[in-house]
Structures are given as structure tokens and as C-alpha cells.
Symmetry: C2
Subunit: 197 residues, 2 copies
């Protein structure tokens, strides 16, 4: 592997998403990445520092890894929001409810995260909310309505996280779908989409 550090971060990102932070051992990461213990501890003081690097990779990659694919071919700002939600739906279904939101998983697994970790979790949520708020603001201008875009974007994230949690637990995508329908109702009430949609 050309870049050992990137290899470790990428491998840990995958394993943390699959099994969670505590259930992923250093040995797991080392064997999966094909890297030796000494190399990992050359780059990272400890496991938690690797976690911070993983959360930073999510943050740096939100545009290319998440938003760009989700918004491919979608121009309407409101539909971009719902296209983002569809990405999580697709992830749930195609993985047979194995994958959910990796950030949300970590946010609830780590009950008292170190400040560095908590700040990276927060930064990821903020980047997501800001992206959605941007869509909402754009739509509000188009539709000539006045609203609190940040508040609605926070609601979108909360609904996504809650809906994914429920669908994963029930192993049934309909719970996610129900929350999206209710969210559409909320967008309609805000004047962001037509009643006939």
C-alpha cells in the first residue's frame, strides 16, 4: 500500500461503520489493513486518535463521498434534500439493514466522548445540516417564502437519524419511509413544495 496512514484510516472507517468503535480491535484493523502494529503506533498515539482521523475523513469527504453522488442529476433544491435521504434508504436496503449512519452510530455509542471526538462528531453534523440548509434557503428564495432554514435542516437531520435507527432495529424500511412522508408534509406546510406532489 502506497500510503499506510490513509490505508489505516480507510480500514478503520470501514470497520467502525460495520462493528462500532469498541467492537473493532486494533488487531482487526491491523490484519484487515495488512499493516503491522508498529506502523499504526508510528502514525497514531492510540486508538482514539485513529477515530479522530476517521471522523475527520468523513468531514473532509462529505462533498465528494456523500453529497455529490446523492445530488447527481438532481437540480431542484427540495428534491436534493430528499435525494440525500434516499441515499440512506438505499444504504439500509442494499446492506440488508447492516449499515446506517456511521456518524450517528458513533455519536450514541460513545457516551462520554473526549472533547476532540465530540467536536468532530459535531462538525460532521454541522456540515450535513449546513448542506441541507443551503438547499432549503435556495428553495425558499425560489418559492418566495420566509422560513428558518437552519431549524428545518436540523429537523431533517434528526428525522433521518431517528428514521434510520428505527428501520435498522425493525429491519423494515417502511419506518424510514413513513418519516420521509411526514417530512414532506412539513416541507409542504412551509410552502416549499406543492400539495399535489
Amino acid at each position: 500500500m502506497a500510503n499506510t496512514r490513509e490505508n489505516l484510516v480507510h480500514t478503520a472507517m470501514q470497520l467502525f461503520a460495520e462493528k462500532g468503535y469498541h467492537s473493532t480491535s486494533i488487531a482487526d484493523i491491523l490484519t484487515t489493513a495488512g499493516v503491522n502494529s508498529g506502523s499504526l503506533y508510528h502514525f497514531f498515539p492510540g486508538k482514539q486518535d485513529l477515530l479522530v482521523a476517521v471522523l475527520d475523513a468523513y468531514l473532509q469527504g462529505i462533498q465528494e463521498m456523500l453529497l455529490k453522488p446523492a445530488w447527481q442529476g438532481v437540480k431542484d433544491p427540495v428534491e436534493r434534500v430528499f435525494s440525500l435521504l434516499s441515499t440512506y434508504r438505499e444504504l439500509l436496503v442494499s446492506s440488508d439493514f447492516f449499515y446506517g449512519c456511521p456518524i450517528g452510530n458513533l455519536a450514541l455509542e460513545l457516551h462520554e466522548p473526549d472533547p476532540a471526538v465530540r467536536e468532530k462528531l459535531e462538525a460532521n453534523f454541522t456540515a450535513w445540516r449546513d448542506a441541507v440548509a443551503g438547499c432549503i434557503r435556495e428553495a425558499a428564495v425560489e418559492k418566495r417564502v420566509s422560513l428558518d432554514a437552519d431549524a428545518l435542516a436540523t429537523m431533517v437531520l434528526a428525522v433521518m437519524e431517528g428514521g434510520v435507527m428505527l428501520s435498522r432495529t425493525y429491519r423494515d424500511v417502511s419506518l424510514h419511509d413513513v418519516t420521509v412522508v411526514e417530512l414532506r408534509n412539513l416541507f409542504e406546510r412551509a410552502g416549499l413544495q406543492g400539495v399535489t406532489r
Copy 2:
């Protein structure tokens, strides 16, 4: 302690809520409960069976431990829903964002729960949704509106879980509050409460 089994379940309930499942060791539980290893393994084959018993205790106690206190002195069915949400708000604030929803925490910490565990998580969510759906149905009759009470109750749970996740991560109750305001908007749109509230 009169009842060792109950003592263990109660202690584990507390510790799982505080630290999560993986971060709570058997030794933690034993010393906190003041019980010896042999006693625990007399009642439970292993740690996971204790978890199932904990989830069952939540399920059995939802009326007395959660709903009854939350609905104390609240008659209006719509306000009962929001009073339930206030309970979680109070928990967040009074614990300085240490406690959230114990069921939601476990649902996301355990990525591939054993069927017995997953079913108990699901049962807890279902009991919660059913309680809220009951309120919504009652309100719908009063207000003479037609709606899908189960769908709206699912939305309420998703919003609560997502809102609690965000407020805990940001250590800021305003994110939870924002989602509750948006939920009120949704209830208003459904004809369940007046526009002036």
C-alpha cells in the same frame, strides 16, 4: 439485598444507560450491585442474557416508569405527547447531557444484535409508539380529523431519538427544542392543534 436477580437487573440497567453495553464490564456490575460472580452466573448464562432482562424491564416498566410520571396532571392527549418529549428534555438538561434515550443508545451501539436482543429493542420502540399513537387517536376523535396515527407516532419517536442524539452531541438542548417546534408544526398541519399555540 432481598432479591439478587432484581438487584443485578437494576444495576445493569443503570450502568448500561450510563456507559453503554460494551463499556460496562461484568466486574462493574458485580461491584456496583455488591454481588458475587457466582450469583450472576447462577441467574444468567452470560452478559447478553442480562441485557435481554434489562430490555424486558424497560418494556415492563414503560407505564409506571415513563408514561405515568410524564402524564401526571396532563389530560389533553396532544399535550401528553409533548409532555413525553419534555421528559427527555428534562433528562438531557438535568444530567448535563449525560443521559439520553437508553433504548436508542443500545439500538445503535449493537450493530448486529442477537435476535433476542433485537426483538426486545423493537418491542420497546413499539410500546412507545403505541402509547403515542393512542394519544393521537384520541386527539383525532376530539378534533374530528382523519389521519394515520401510527405514522405520526413513528415520526414522533424518530424525531425524539434524532433530537436527543443531536442535543447530546452538541451539548445544547436547543437542537432538541427546534425539532419539537417543527413537530408542533406538523401536528398543527394535521389539525391536531390550533395555529395560535
